[in-house]
């Protein structure tokens, strides 16, 4: 949503880039030789884990995008409950009003990892953009630097958490 706040600048951006993979695109496989990827969210389940290693292998610049990717943020609050089994029990058995059962569909629903981890704890990350969410002007500042071919460098209030 914050990305959409870039408003008309999105047109300028679209003219300069080729979007190859995104949740709003109908593409199933992560392509080869990607220049820049913006990663949203922390690594919480086995699907994320597989995808992040694949992305690392096929991408030049990884951007940890937003507090969840950078710190784990709210998604990592479940870590306090202990391993995945405790989390599932708390949510689906103790917290349930009716039909208490832990959903299990191997191969369809990916298994949770025991702890949610920020992206840079799993694979090396080049650029960090904290913020919950990062406001549009910070996203633009970062992307403009990337488009200019510079190594992105954000300063001062551009790196505010929360």
């Amino acid at each position: 949503m914050s990305f959409l706040d870039l408003d008309e600048w999105l047109f300028d951006l679209a003219a300069k880039i080729e979007l190859v993979y995104s949740p709003i695109m109908d593409i199933k496989v992560y392509p080869e030789n990607v220049d820049v990827v913006l990663i949203e969210g922390a690594v919480a389940n086995e699907d994320h884990l597989q995808l992040i290693h694949l992305i690392r292998k096929k991408t030049k610049v990884l951007v940890s995008f937003g507090d969840c990717a950078v710190t784990g943020n709210v998604t990592a609050l479940r870590n306090f409950l202990g391993p995945a089994e405790h989390v599932l029990r708390r949510a689906y058995l103790e917290g349930a009003d009716i039909q208490a059962q832990i959903p299990s569909m191997p191969g369809v629903v990916p298994a949770l990892l025991d702890t949610v981890r920020p992206v840079h704890e799993i694979v090396p990350v080049e650029v960090f953009l904290p913020g919950c969410p990062p406001p549009a002007d910070r996203i633009r500042a970062l992307l403009e630097q990337v488009l200019a071919g510079e190594a992105p460098h954000l300063m001062g209030s551009q790196i505010k958490f929360g």
Partner: protein, 97 residues
């Protein structure tokens, strides 16, 4: 880290992270980056701690790094290899609470 009183941050939180990094190295989950991080951390804890406890706590790590560095290096995993992450297999129970 059990001896730290907890008053100053470098000793209270630094020794915990030193222990964590050492465990990570011993478990074969650490990379060269973690080793550099450990060295930087030791240097910081040694130079910024409030009392003698924190100022000397990194010494065993620093001296083993100096004399037995090869043993540390042998335990590292290459940066490109995926880190082993423990995942839970979803328990296949459907208990009616």
């Amino acid at each position: 880290m059990d001896e730290s009183c907890g008053k100053c941050i470098p000793c209270r939180a630094g020794t915990v992270q030193m222990h964590h990094l050492l465990t990570k190295i011993l478990d074969g989950k650490a990379t060269l980056k973690d080793l550099q991080k450990l060295e930087e951390l030791c240097d910081m804890v040694k130079n910024t701690s409030l009392c003698g406890l924190g100022q000397t706590a990194p010494n065993p790590v620093l001296s083993t790094l100096r004399f037995f560095r090869h043993e540390y290096l042998e335990l590292l995993r290459p940066e490109s290899a995926p880190a082993p992450v423990k995942s839970a297999t979803t328990p296949e129970v459907s208990t009616h609470a």
